[in-house]
Symmetry: C2
Subunit: 388 residues, 2 copies
Amino acid sequence: MVTYTEAMQRVAAMQGQLQAKGIDGALFIFPIDVYYFSGTRQNSTLWIPAAGEPVLMVRKSLARARLESPLTDIRPFPSSKEFPALFHEGVAKIGFTFDVAPVQQLNYYTKLLPGREFVDISAANREVRSVKTAFELDQLRFSGATLCSVFKQVPQFLKAGMRELDLAAEFEHRLRTAGNEGYIRMRAFNQELFMGLALSSGAASYGFFDGAVTGRGLSNASPQGSSTQIINRNEPVFMDYTGVFNGYITDMTRIFVIGELDPELQRAFDLSLVIQNHLQNALKPGAICEELFQQAVEIAEKGGLGAHFMGMPGEQARFVGHGVGLELDEFPVLAQGFKVPLQAGQTIAIEPKFVFPDKGVIGIENTFAVSHSGGEKITDIDDRIVFI
Amino acid sequence: MVTYTEAMQRVAAMQGQLQAKGIDGALFIFPIDVYYFSGTRQNSTLWIPAAGEPVLMVRKSLARARLESPLTDIRPFPSSKEFPALFHEGVAKIGFTFDVAPVQQLNYYTKLLPGREFVDISAANREVRSVKTAFELDQLRFSGATLCSVFKQVPQFLKAGMRELDLAAEFEHRLRTAGNEGYIRMRAFNQELFMGLALSSGAASYGFFDGAVTGRGLSNASPQGSSTQIINRNEPVFMDYTGVFNGYITDMTRIFVIGELDPELQRAFDLSLVIQNHLQNALKPGAICEELFQQAVEIAEKGGLGAHFMGMPGEQARFVGHGVGLELDEFPVLAQGFKVPLQAGQTIAIEPKFVFPDKGVIGIENTFAVSHSGGEKITDIDDRIVFI
């Protein structure tokens, strides 16, 4: 449960952004944004004025929103006539999340509030969300620990001859009984993910996903993740999964091998650890995101594996880490063009990976929290390849 | 695989709508719309001119889009300079899906194509998608048959004393190994669903979901579906699950009871069957959606259960069925205000349900195809309550 103090700490961070930008308040309609500031994910719209108490207007379920949210002003969604009365005459400029709000929603609210200017606050919202409170860091630690407990069980059920899909189903079953909530929230417009990726060596196929690896999937309609391909001995089995507990997402990858591993892949794996460990040490407030990405590329290139880094040759992703929290693709991103400094309390999944079209995918991923002593490892089990 | 003939049949249906509305063409950016018309769900934008061949512009993965799509013009996403050259001078009015496209996306395309008017084609798109081709009906029959094969296994693993979550995990594990793709696409702005709902009697709790039943869920961040509540003897266990195979979604509900059932709930269940059977017979081209909903309400009221129909008292949903296909919430909707006639080949999940706050949720759901001889039952196993 999000307490009043916790919610108002988050609201105050947003109000600081609004005031700095000369915006009179913000209307939040995207479910996970509403949850972040209010503590409830019911179907509702949240008004955060630049100063003062927020107002939660609920379509469904009002009863449940009142049980869950600590905010002081929770009311039924007003009629079109009543709605404008909520906003005093001084409210001229209203923030709105143009990154996720459909055009129909903006048109609806601009019609409800004629004469007001709606401005995009997507970046400010993502920046506020990127810095986790102490409460959120604890949620993420719990999420990471529970996800790790399932990764530890993989040697119990991974067998040569099973399909990628069977491995996925076994893993997902254990994740669910451990309390995993399942639905993975992503903010980017065209992204979708079902829990994670369990892939054998043949799965280094092309794909739409904004990551190093997509997987073949089960059909052209769902071209991602596990396929019906058989898992063989002596190949890297790539397990990239998320844990979602109390809404908080952690993300990690481990490699499993039944038998022995091609020495070239072992060298690539060792290099992914070098990159990870370099970035973990550098994960301090003030470090520039883009520079961390460039350092990762440099290590990969010096190791002779630049052409395999973060994707199929020609389809390489230009990042090595991404923020995680209530969404899988939060700020900051360790990527080209991301020139901002890290802040303490940001949580980032770092995932140096190498793709060999004929041999498979290999690498490491862990979720870290940025701190003054470097990255705190939140998915804290052994990084090494598990040989079975 | 979607063939060229199949894709162009769908494109022609959209072109008919565009021509009737005086729109010069439509830009599709929402992944499942792009898939529907092109046969690939890669990260891409599809231009359908009012007449002529569509153009698929691919960001990632071009190689995979070319393998999967039968369209004749597939190219890399053009640069900002090249983009306008695709559109001849006569293109003045461009259709866009305002229901799902974020504001940032509309702003991006209006900037790429200055001087053009963008108009909302959300309803026309959903209407085209609602009428399934023969190929799509076969996909839905396969989806329904596979989903049914998992429902038949429930008596093997449902036990008193297990948590709702354990029941969900067992069911989902079998769904996955049967080839279920997992990720459920919904179009409505604020909706989310993870595979389905496995609920015991206490789960008739309030919720945001646009259905009769939401479930308690595992946290306020994921307030939907199974919780850790224990399943007891002599209560209705409510299993409402989707099957997603080759992208096509079917939706069904069955009730299971370990022991005996309260006679009031049995009477409510029998009434849900009366409503379903009435609607199945009426599921013919020309029937008016709203009238079917009103008939369902009438039967519920005559049976003395109007106050329990389709939700908690005070939170009753005003519908009794919804279209299914590549998305779970397609057109048409058997709902108040939906005054359009049914068309042959539409596929609709009909779900008369009754909610008793203290006793649980009961009812039936099956997916049907509209035909001249009434609804073809696509989730074709016995409707009756399974006593264990």
